[in-house]
Symmetry: C2
Subunit: 226 residues, 2 copies
DNA sequence: CCAAGGTTTTGAACGTGTTCAAGAAAGGAT
DNA sequence: ATCCTTTCTTGAACACGTTCAAAACCTTGG
């Protein structure tokens, strides 16, 4: 049942695995996801078709590796933002724009394989069990973004806000994927408008008029988490 | 360039087309989308594989017909709700729950072909040009839901709210697709919690404290619509 | 050095969505 | 009636993702 070792047994195998992965990512970028065939990946990497499948259970698994790379790059970029900015809005904006900057070169490619990520049954789905580590990492980053900022929120909201901010980010990514404008201009417009809005809402969350609404939102989120 | 007529030229052809579609939908429901092959559809419908492709350009196009059916059924159900209820919250809740009721029998199937709808390049995408008629119809329904209700909102918000409500519905559908709980219990929890919240926010939208926020939201939406 | 057992590699084969050239059927127009 | 055009039908063929049994290649204990 496991002809696909996560960690190759020998250095040579690791090298082969890396070659396949590198070739795949290059071809994905050059020709797009759909037009890149597993046969082409194998041939260019100098291995047989069977070998490619020995190391990667499916074409999707090849993409997972790419996705992980992207996430790592984004997190590094966010670290810089967090070190530089202390305002909540500036940090949030920096984080979202960092994602756009990191992902921009791959927009066409991303849109092509997004269909796979959207499949609830796919391990690439942001809600899947396999994505849990990446998801938790991103949420943890959002928590640091919030906690290290000047935002003042109630204890209850502070606990849940990182999750909501992660959801916001997923929404932005969704918008980005569908964004066909030049250089994803519309997504940047969205971010520039969304951040001040969220900032304002967070600040207002402690106003008496809004306390009830905020409590209801938090209660709803909590009831869905079971 | 057009071997796929939208309207068959002869009654016999229309009958063949209908038979293929009916067979496909039945098999989709019985065996799931992925496990239903075009060869099986053709065989069960008593035609050749080529014929199936003469009437439907792709497997996805067969799904489009199913989707249209679902939408029609939903709109009929909403009509009843609008005739019965006058409160904004009751109408919104009725509309969302009508969707859940109509779609429930097809949840497993829907989740399987959702990946296709998520592809920005697919005609099945809710944002695609091909979906424009269906989308406009749904938004128009939301407008009637709002205008015929007891909700009092500013002129500016009234103009944009139907679009936002449609977006809300898309969000609920997204949640529903990912909802693996028995009978999609979690989605129903979401709807029951979301509706009062939206209702409250809409009512509060005219409060002086929130005027600024509402204006910003509307301005953002407007700036993205270009 | 050999044998045994694990690891890696291979390419043929399968099932699938889709295409296409060729032909059959069905109407006209003359 | 006879051709011509358009509409419909067919099944073979293609390209792709994926599987699998067999072989080749280690590594290690004796």
């Amino acid at each position: 049942m496991e002809p696909v070792p996560d960690t190759p047994r020998t250095p040579k195998a690791a090298q082969t695995r890396a070659a396949i992965l590198a070739t795949a990512l290059r071809l994905f970028r050059e020709d797009g996801y759909d037009r890149t065939t597993m046969r082409a990946v194998a041939k260019e990497a100098g291995v047989s078709l069977g070998s490619a499948y020995y190391y990667f259970a499916s074409k999707e698994h090849l993409v997972q590796a790419f996705y992980d790379e992207l996430l790592t790059e984004h997190q590094a970029a966010v670290e810089e933002v967090l070190a530089r900015e202390s305002g909540f809005a500036a940090r949030l904006q920096g984080s979202l724009e960092a994602w756009l900057a990191v992902a921009a070169p791959h927009h066409a490619f991303a849109a092509q394989f997004f269909r796979n990520a959207a499949d609830p049954a796919s391990p690439l789905s942001p809600f899947s069990a396999e994505s849990a580590p990446a998801r938790d990492g991103s949420i943890a980053l959002m928590r640091r973004l919030l906690d290290g900022s000047d935002a003042k929120v109630s204890r209850a909201l502070q606990a849940q806000l990182p999750d909501l901010l992660w959801l916001l980010q997923m929404g932005v990514v969704l918008f980005w994927v569908y964004d066909a404008s030049d250089d994803q201009r519309r997504t940047r417009t969205l971010v520039r408008g969304l951040v001040p809005l969220v900032d304002r809402l967070v600040r207002m969350s402690r106003l008496p008029v809004l306390r009830g609404v905020v409590d209801d939102v938090l209660a709803l989120v909590a009831s869905l988490r079971t």
